[in-house]
């Protein structure tokens, strides 16, 4: 019986010109946004690869100089975009994906694409994720608002009930029919997306990228199912299709636009992001203080340890050790500040996660960014890997200073500057970002997944209750 109803729904929609138009528009938008995303991805990838290659060449070919001067000149590292960035750029357009790795402190991410955006782009980028989060729920609403209310208005509901049909079977049948017609339109796009992601991914990341793409398709399917059951429930409750449509459009506007933006603003009010200049000002003040105190303590400790009066009498060059100690002090101070800053971002993120209770769109947006590798947590993972690379670089350079400082009769000779050469520069390994696996990326979002499951259960229960109250009146 379910298949009979599903087939009839499918046939009716396939003959409905309005549906064909709406589906065609949705597909065109998905296609256009995918093409734009693809072009953007290819541009970003080419730029990142070219810039990384160019900058590393500059690093290798730099003139012989003191290794610490070389550290100050630094080298840029890049987060190469992954193919799923075509679907959802996440926070990357706003935070950037290139960081200058230099001496003492990790630099800020630079050159975010948002810098190059026009004022019109304040409405958001057209991406397949935006189309899926905003337009596909609308398509589901347009397909389902009249499912029961329309049947009631045209009198067929009474006709169906007179047969003795179980209203829950009607719910299953209509859900299956609408889901089938949506799948007919959207599944080829989803499968093409999975195939494209797999083909564009680097061989070592292909499996993970394919899995992420598959999970992304599932996520949006899950979201549309929530909207479908809610719409069918509302349709069963309303006496007219027009009322059902009005209620659902208000729900769509509120949950897709109003609440997510309100959540962002409120989270910023509760957990204000530190002002950049203040953050760096305080960090530098604390850093200088820590350096002064740390350098003196370190010197005393070494002199006591080797039982000598002055650093020149140490059995090794003090300069390299002092620099390494200074760097390690800077790591500690920076880590404290970095943690403070990311704790605030985490709290803002948690606020958005709990916002999923108010709107499934918030949770879907977070999971979409996580699966495409462009959420806050994976960005932080990138900055951590960058910092590890920076530390490796500075340790390498400081060790070189220690190893190559000359000693004369009066002790360690600092008048002759140590100079690194191409051999040293080449020994710095290139930075390659190692992205987290799909499961690692999703693990922090267990609460969001649970809340989306709750939404689905609640929507389904609501629809079941609403249809069980259907009557021929």
């Amino acid at each position: 019986m379910i298949s009979v109803i599903a087939r009839k729904e499918f046939t009716e929609f396939s003959r409905d010109g309005r549906f064909r138009l709406a589906a065609a528009l949705a597909l065109v938008l998905l296609l256009v946004s995918s093409l734009l995303g693809w072009r953007n991805y290819l541009d970003l990838q080419a730029q990142a690869e070219e810039a990384a290659e160019h900058d590393y060449r500059r690093w290798r070919q730099q003139d012989p100089k003191h290794p610490h001067d070389a550290a100050h000149n630094g080298v840029y590292v890049f987060k190469t975009p992954r193919p799923l960035a075509i679907v959802d750029g996440g926070i990357e357009p706003y935070v950037g994906a290139s960081i200058m790795n230099g001496a003492h402190l990790q630099g800020e991410a630079e050159f975010p694409p948002a810098q190059d955006m026009t004022a019109l782009q304040r409405f958001g980028d057209l991406s397949p994720a935006l189309a899926a989060q905003v337009l596909l729920p609308l398509l589901v609403i347009l397909l389902s608002f009249s499912a029961f209310a329309g049947e009631r208005e045209q009198g067929t509901l009474r006709q169906l009930l007179s047969i003795g049909i179980n209203p829950r079977l009607m719910l299953w049948g209509k859900s299956a029919g609408i889901a089938a017609i949506l799948a007919l339109v959207l599944l080829p796009a989803g499968i093409a997306g999975i195939g494209l992601a797999a083909s564009l991914a680097a061989p070592e990341l292909r499996l993970d990228e394919t899995m992420r793409a598959g999970l992304l398709v599932l996520l949006y399917g899950f979201y549309l199912l929530i909207i479908l059951f809610l719409s069918l429930g509302v349709s069963a409750c309303c006496r007219s299709a027009r009322t059902a449509l009005a209620i659902l459009l208000v729900f769509w506007g509120v949950t897709v636009f109003a609440i997510p933006r309100a959540l962002l603003d409120i989270s910023g009010q509760f957990y204000p992001t530190p002002v950049n200049t203040e953050f760096w000002g305080k960090l530098e003040t604390d850093l200088w203080k820590a350096w002064e105190e740390g350098a003196e303590a370190f010197k005393k400790k070494l002199l006591a340890q080797y039982q000598v009066e002055k650093v020149e009498d140490l059995p090794f060059d003090y300069t390299g050790r002092d620099m390494q100690n200074g760097d390690e002090t800077a790591w500690r101070v920076y880590e404290g500040y970095d943690k403070q800053r990311y704790d605030i971002y985490d709290q803002q993120n948690h606020f958005l996660e709990w916002g999923t209770l108010m709107t499934p769109a918030a949770g879907v947006s977070l999971l979409s960014m996580a699966l495409t590798g462009n959420d806050l947590l994976q960005y932080r993972d990138f900055t951590r890997q960058v910092e590890l690379h920076r530390r490796t670089m500075n340790t390498l350079l400081n060790d070189y200073i220690s190893a190559h400082q000359q000693k004369n009769a009066d002790g360690w000779d600092n008048s002759v500057s140590v100079k690194g050469d191409i051999t040293l520069w080449q020994s710095l390994p290139t930075f390659v970002y190692q992205p987290a696996s799909a499961w690692t990326a999703l693990r922090p979002y267990r609460v969001v997944i649970a809340m989306l499951s709750f939404w689905l259960l609640a929507a389904f229960s609501f629809a079941c209750t609403a249809v069980s109250r259907l009557s021929g009146r």
């Binding site: 009979v4 009839k8 046939t11 006709q159 009930l161 047969i163 009557s471």
Partner: protein, 242 residues
């Protein structure tokens, strides 16, 4: 097959059906006559459990329609005054859909046979219903009711919109159904059809079943006069009040 025991329906202060007691057996065509608002459709809706009774019981094939609506409805074929169909489906597809949901699987040839027997022109069978006239929709409704092979027919103004030829054929169809043991309850304004088709007729007014007649023992003129007498009583009262 159909039984109403003290069946009443009240909407706030308005009594739509007042203590209806009625039994309709297999092979019987019971016609309910009455002006608009007399309670005919309310009676049919109570048997279908589209509305719940304020008092009394509506039994369908022995099942209390209020307690076992699903079981009761499975025994019923219902034909409303305005048959509602899916406009984007053809007559054949509509019939196939409703009969499949009723548990009957027919071949395309059988479906066409039902529709042709109901009087639908052959060239209309595969056309979308959105282009059908009211009478054509009514014929599809008749085919749906027949295809269900139900033991009880509830008909609410079934000949509304039918041309005289189709109405005549419909009357024949009802008589044949009754002969095969189907119990039929038909609400109608058509006195001529009542006399032609019905075995018994009940005249309703203001929710009350005033009288029940055996149509074989009553001539068409007597039936009309009796009906008008009951309706006239109201008009006289209204005239006196004015």
């Amino acid at each position: 097959m159909l039984e109403a025991c003290g069946l009443s329906k009240r909407y706030n202060t308005h009594l739509a059906l007042d203590d209806l007691n009625l039994k309709i057996g297999a092979g019987e065509i019971f016609c309910l006559l009455g002006a608009n608002g007399a309670g005919k459709t309310t009676t049919i809706h109570l048997f279908l459990n589209f509305i719940q009774p304020s008092a009394g019981v509506a039994k369908v094939g022995g099942y209390d329609a209020n307690c076992n609506p699903g079981l009761a409805r499975r025994l019923i074929a219902y034909l409303p005054e305005n048959v509602a169909l899916y406009p984007r489906l053809s007559g054949t597809e509509n019939l196939n859909y409703f009969s499949s949901l009723s548990g009957w699987r027919y071949s395309k040839a059988q479906l066409r046979e039902f529709l042709l027997a109901a009087g639908l022109p052959e060239q209309a069978l595969d056309r979308p219903v959105s282009g059908y006239s009211k009478g054509m929709r009514q014929k599809v409704g008749i085919a749906i009711a027949c295809a269900k092979e139900a033991k009880i027919f509830l008909l609410d103004e079934p000949t509304s919109g039918l041309d005289p030829q189709a109405s005549f054929e419909f009357s024949n169809l009802l008589r044949n159904l009754a002969k095969s043991g189907v119990a039929i309850l038909m609400a109608t304004h058509d006195l001529f059809r009542v006399k032609e088709t019905g075995t018994r007729a009940g005249i309703m007014k203001s929710g009350k079943l005033l009288t029940v007649l055996n149509t074989a023992e009553t001539s068409a003129i007597e039936l009309e006069q009796l009906y008008l007498q009951h309706m006239q009583a109201d008009l006289n009262k209204a005239g006196a009040a004015l």
